[in-house]
C-alpha cells in the first residue's frame, strides 16, 4: 500500500507526497507563527521554571562550594574511611576559607538538613578557625566532641558534591545511619511522607464529596429549561467570581466556635454551649472550604457531558423494561464517565496542590503538602521545597497515567 503511495506522482511528475507537503507548507508555517507567542510564553513561564525546580531538588552547592580541600580528601579516600588527621586538616583549612567568605552558616545549614543540630558546630568552628593548630583532630574535638560523629562526616561527604539525593531522602522520611544504610527516621519525626499520603487522602475525600454533591446538581442543570438552568448555573459559578479570601473569610464567620453555625446549633439545643463544634482551623475546615471552592470544577465538566446525553437514551431503556435505577446504573452513568473522569481529575489535581485555603483555615492538622513546600521556601531551603514540589508533581503525573490506563485520556471532556 505504502509502496504504491510513494510511487504516485502529480500530473507533471512530482512525487505526490512532496507535492502535498509543499502545498501545505505555507498553511503550516502560518499556523505555527500563530501559536508561537503562546509557545514562547509557556516555555518561559512554565517549562523553564519546572526544569529549574527539578534541578534544584537534586543540586545544592551551599556546602560544596566552600570546601575545596575537604572535597579533595573525600575524593582520595573511599567511602567508609574514618576521618584521619589529614581530613581534619582539610576541614580546618576550609573553615578558614568559610570565615573569610562568611559562608559557614550556609554550609552548616546544608549539613544541618541531614543531621540536625550541626549548624552551630560550623559557625562556632569557623569563628575560631584561624587559631586552630595541629594536631587538628584533637583541636576540633576540643571545640565540639561531635566532630568525629560518623553521621556528620557522611553528611559532609554527600554534601561535598553539589549533586545529591539527600533532599528526597528527607522527603521520604528516611535517613542514613552510620553505615550509610537508609533507615526510617524516628516515628515522631516522620512528617513529610506521612503528610504526602495524608494530602492525597484528603484530596480524595474532597473529590468524593464534590462528586456526590455535583452529580445531582449537574443533572438538574442539564434537564432544566435553558432559562432556569442559566440562573442556577450563575449560582454554581458565583464562587468562581468571588475573591478567594472573601470566600474563606465567610467560612470563618460561619464555622468558627462563636460562628453562625455553632450559634444556630446551640440555639436549637442540638449541642450545649460548652460543646461547640470545632469546624475550622482543623482538617474539617480545610475539607469544607476546599469542597466549596472546587465544586464548580466538578459541576462544569459533568454538566457539559450530561447536557448532550439525549433524553431518548433513558427513555429507550425504560421502554425496554429497565427500572429507573437500572437505567441510571447501566445507561446514564456509563455515558457520564468522561465528565466524571474530567471532574475527578481536575478537582483532585487542584486539591492535591492547594495552598491558600489550608493555610488560612487549616489550623495545625489541616495543613497540606503545599504548605510544607511554602514553609521551606520561606526558610530559603530551596532544594527541600523543590524536592517536595517534585514529589507532588510526580504524584499527579502518576495519577494522570493511571487515569489514562484505566479510563483513557481521550475520553476526558472538560467542557
Amino acid at each position: 500500500m505504502s509502496d504504491v503511495a510513494s510511487q504516485l506522482t502529480t500530473a507533471d511528475g512530482r512525487p505526490l507526497k512532496a507535492a502535498l507537503a509543499s502545498a501545505q507548507a505555507r498553511a503550516k508555517r502560518r499556523a505555527f507563527f500563530l501559536v508561537l507567542p503562546l509557545l514562547l510564553f509557556i516555555l518561559i513561564s512554565f517549562a523553564v521554571p519546572i526544569g529549574q525546580m527539578l534541578q534544584r531538588s537534586v543540586y545544592n552547592d551551599q556546602f560544596s562550594k566552600s570546601v575545596p580541600a575537604l572535597s579533595q580528601w573525600f575524593a582520595e579516600n573511599p567511602k567508609g574511611t574514618a576521618p584521619d588527621e589529614a581530613a581534619f586538616a582539610a576541614l580546618a583549612s576550609d573553615l578558614v576559607l568559610m570565615k573569610e567568605t562568611r559562608a559557614a552558616g550556609d554550609a552548616g545549614t546544608r549539613i544541618n538538613y541531614v543531621v540536625s543540630g550541626t549548624r552551630s558546630m560550623f559557625t562556632k568552628a569557623a569563628r575560631g578557625a584561624d587559631k586552630l593548630e595541629p594536631p587538628f583532630m584533637e583541636a576540633m574535638l576540643e571545640l565540639d566532641e561531635d566532630w568525629d560523629n560518623p553521621l556528620v562526616w557522611n553528611a559532609m561527604r554527600s554534601a561535598a558534591s553539589p549533586w545529591t539525593f539527600d533532599f528526597y531522602t528527607i522527603a521520604f522520611d528516611l535517613e542514613r545511619d552510620a553505615d550509610g544504610k537508609l533507615t526510617k527516621v524516628d516515628e515522631t519525626q516522620r512528617i513529610y511522607f506521612r503528610l504526602f499520603i495524608k494530602t492525597f487522602l484528603i484530596a480524595g475525600v474532597i473529590t468524593a464529596i464534590c462528586l456526590v454533591l455535583a452529580f445531582p446538581i449537574a443533572h438538574l442543570l442539564a434537564t432544566l429549561p435553558m432559562a432556569k438552568a442559566n440562573l442556577l448555573m450563575i449560582l454554581v459559578l458565583l464562587p468562581f467570581w468571588t475573591s478567594l479570601l472573601v470566600r474563606t473569610t465567610s467560612w470563618i464567620v460561619l464555622l468558627q466556635g462563636q460562628g453562625v453555625v455553632n450559634d444556630i446549633l446551640v440555639a436549637l439545643g442540638i449541642i450545649g454551649d460548652d460543646g461547640r463544634l470545632q469546624m475550622i482551623y482543623n482538617q474539617t475546615g480545610t475539607i469544607i472550604a476546599m469542597v466549596h471552592i472546587l465544586l464548580p470544577f466538578m459541576v462544569l465538566p459533568l454538566y457539559s457531558v450530561m447536557r448532550v446525553i439525549p433524553v431518548s437514551y433513558t427513555r429507550a431503556a425504560r421502554s425496554l423494561g429497565a427500572t429507573s435505577w437500572t437505567t441510571f446504573r447501566r445507561i446514564y452513568l456509563p455515558q457520564t464517565i468522561p465528565g466524571i473522569g474530567a471532574g475527578v481529575l481536575l478537582v483532585f489535581i487542584l486539591a492535591v496542590g492547594y495552598y491558600i485555603t489550608p493555610a488560612l483555615v487549616g489550623g495545625a492538622d489541616g495543613q497540606l503538602f503545599s504548605n510544607m513546600v511554602q514553609f521551606h521556601m520561606t526558610k530559603a531551603n530551596w532544594s527541600m521545597a523543590a524536592a517536595l514540589a517534585t514529589m507532588l508533581l510526580v504524584g499527579v503525573l502518576v495519577l494522570y497515567w493511571l487515569y489514562d490506563r484505566l479510563i483513557g485520556i481521550d475520553k476526558l471532556k472538560l467542557g
Binding site: 431518548s312 427513555r315 427500572t323 429507573s324 437500572t326 445507561i331
Partner: protein
C-alpha cells in the same frame, strides 16, 4: 379493522394533555386500535401527535382521561412495566454497548437466561438482516443500519405493541422508502400492533391500515389511506394530504350530496357536499390535480365546465404538471399522465376544464 370501544387493544378516552396549565396540547383525544393494526399519527409539528405517543409509552402523563392497553388502564403504570417496544427518531442505541449488548439489555432486565437471550438476539438480528453486526458499536454503523438495530431491539422482547416516533426521519429518501417496506413487512409477518408517528404523508399513506391526521391537538380525520386521500373530511386534511386545488365559493344549490358552487368570478362548478349544510354558505372546493379533465369526452355529461388558461407546463417524466389560471387563481394545478395520446398543452392556451362531481369536495372555509 376498526375496533369498537370494548374490544380495542389500545384506547384513548377523552385524553387531554397540558404542559403549562394554560393551553391544551392534546384536546379530547378518542382513539381505538385493534390488535394487529398499523396506525399512523400524522400531522405537522406541534399538532400533539408525539405527545400522544409519549403518553402511550408512559413518558408523559395524561392531564385528563384514560389510556387503556389490552383492556387495562395504564395511566399509573410506569414505562418499564408497560411492555411496549419503542423506536426513536435518533435511534437511541446505547453508544457504550455493542449491538449484541443493546439487544441483550431488554432481555437481561427481564432476567432471561444466557442461552435464551442469545437465541432471541440472533433471531431478531436475522429478522432485520443484520446478523453479522452483533459485535459492532452503534457509531461504526450507518444510519440505516442503526435504524435496523433499533427496530430489532424494540422487537427482541416480543412486545405486543410497538411505537415508532418518526423512525425514518433521519434517513435519505431511497433508504427511507426501502425501510418503509421492511417495517410494513415485519408488521405483517409478526402480527404486532404498531403506532407510528410521522409528518411525512407519503410514509403514512404507504404503510398504514389507518391514519389519524392530527392538527391543533385534535384528530381531524381517522381513516384508511385511500379514504383519507380521496374523501378528506375537511380543508385541513385535504390540504395536508397530497396536492390539492382549492377554489373558494358560495353554495348556490344543494341537493342531497350534490352541491353547485358559484365561484368568485361567477362561474358554476359541481361538487360533493361534505361539510356544507345550507345554501349561501361559504365553502372551499377541493379537487385533486390528477382528477381534473380537459378532454371533453372525459367530462361527465351535464357537469359544469369552467375556463382555464395554461400558464406553465413542467415536464416531470411520468407526468406533465400544468399550472393554470382558473377563476382568478394562478396556482391551479393539473397533472396529466405522460402518455402517447396525451393532448399537448402550451402556455397561453385557453381550454375548458371539468371533473366528476364526486372528485370535487365542498369543504369548510379555513
Amino acid at each position: 379493522m376498526v375496533a369498537s370501544r370494548d374490544d380495542a387493544f389500545v384506547s384513548f378516552e377523552h385524553v387531554q394533555k397540558s404542559y403549562d396549565g394554560e393551553t391544551l396540547v392534546v384536546k379530547d383525544l378518542n382513539l381505538q386500535l385493534a390488535k394487529g393494526e398499523f396506525l399512523t399519527m400524522l400531522g405537522p409539528s406541534g399538532s400533539g401527535k408525539t405527545t400522544c405517543l409519549m403518553m402511550l409509552a408512559g413518558f408523559e402523563t395524561a392531564t385528563h382521561g384514560e389510556i387503556r392497553l389490552d383492556g387495562k388502564p395504564i395511566n399509573q403504570v410506569p414505562p418499564h412495566k408497560r411492555g411496549i417496544g419503542m423506536v426513536f427518531q435518533n435511534y437511541a442505541l446505547f453508544p457504550h454497548m455493542t449491538v449484541g449488548e443493546n439487544l441483550s439489555f431488554p432481555l437481561e432486565v427481564r432476567g432471561m437466561g444466557k442461552s435464551e437471550r442469545e437465541a432471541k438476539i440472533k433471531r431478531a438480528l436475522d429478522m432485520v438482516q443484520m446478523g453479522a453486526f452483533a459485535n459492532r458499536r452503534p457509531a461504526q454503523m450507518s444510519g440505516g443500519q442503526q435504524q435496523r438495530i433499533a427496530l430489532a431491539r424494540a422487537l427482541v422482547f416480543d412486545p405486543k405493541l410497538v411505537l415508532m416516533d418518526e423512525p425514518l426521519g433521519a434517513l435519505d429518501k431511497q433508504l427511507r422508502e426501502h425501510m418503509q417496506f421492511e417495517i410494513k413487512h415485519l408488521h405483517e409477518s409478526l402480527g404486532i400492533t404498531v403506532v407510528y408517528v410521522t409528518h411525512d404523508q407519503g410514509e403514512a399513506l404507504t404503510m398504514s391500515d389507518r391514519v389519524a391526521v392530527f392538527n391543533d391537538g385534535r384528530i381531524q380525520q381517522l381513516a384508511p389511506p385511500a379514504e383519507l386521500y380521496e374523501r378528506p373530511d375537511n380543508s385541513f386534511v385535504a390540504g395536508f394530504i397530497g396536492e390539492n386545488n382549492k377554489l373558494p365559493g358560495v353554495v348556490e344549490d344543494l341537493n342531497g350530496e350534490r352541491a353547485v358552487v358559484r365561484l368568485e368570478n361567477g362561474e358554476l362548478i359541481d361538487a360533493t357536499a361534505v361539510n356544507v349544510k345550507a345554501k349561501g354558505e361559504k365553502t372551499l372546493v377541493s379537487i385533486r390535480p390528477e382528477r381534473v379533465e380537459f378532454k371533453p369526452e372525459l367530462i361527465p355529461e351535464g357537469a359544469h365546465t369552467i375556463d382555464a388558461e395554461v400558464l406553465e407546463v413542467i415536464y416531470m417524466g411520468d407526468i406533465l404538471r400544468t399550472r393554470m389560471r382558473v377563476a382568478g387563481h394562478d396556482e391551479f394545478v393539473v397533472k396529466c399522465r405522460n402518455t402517447i395520446d396525451q393532448m399537448p398543452l402550451t402556455p397561453g392556451q385557453r381550454i375548458r376544464i371539468g371533473w366528476n362531481p364526486l372528485d370535487a369536495r365542498a369543504l369548510d372555509m379555513i
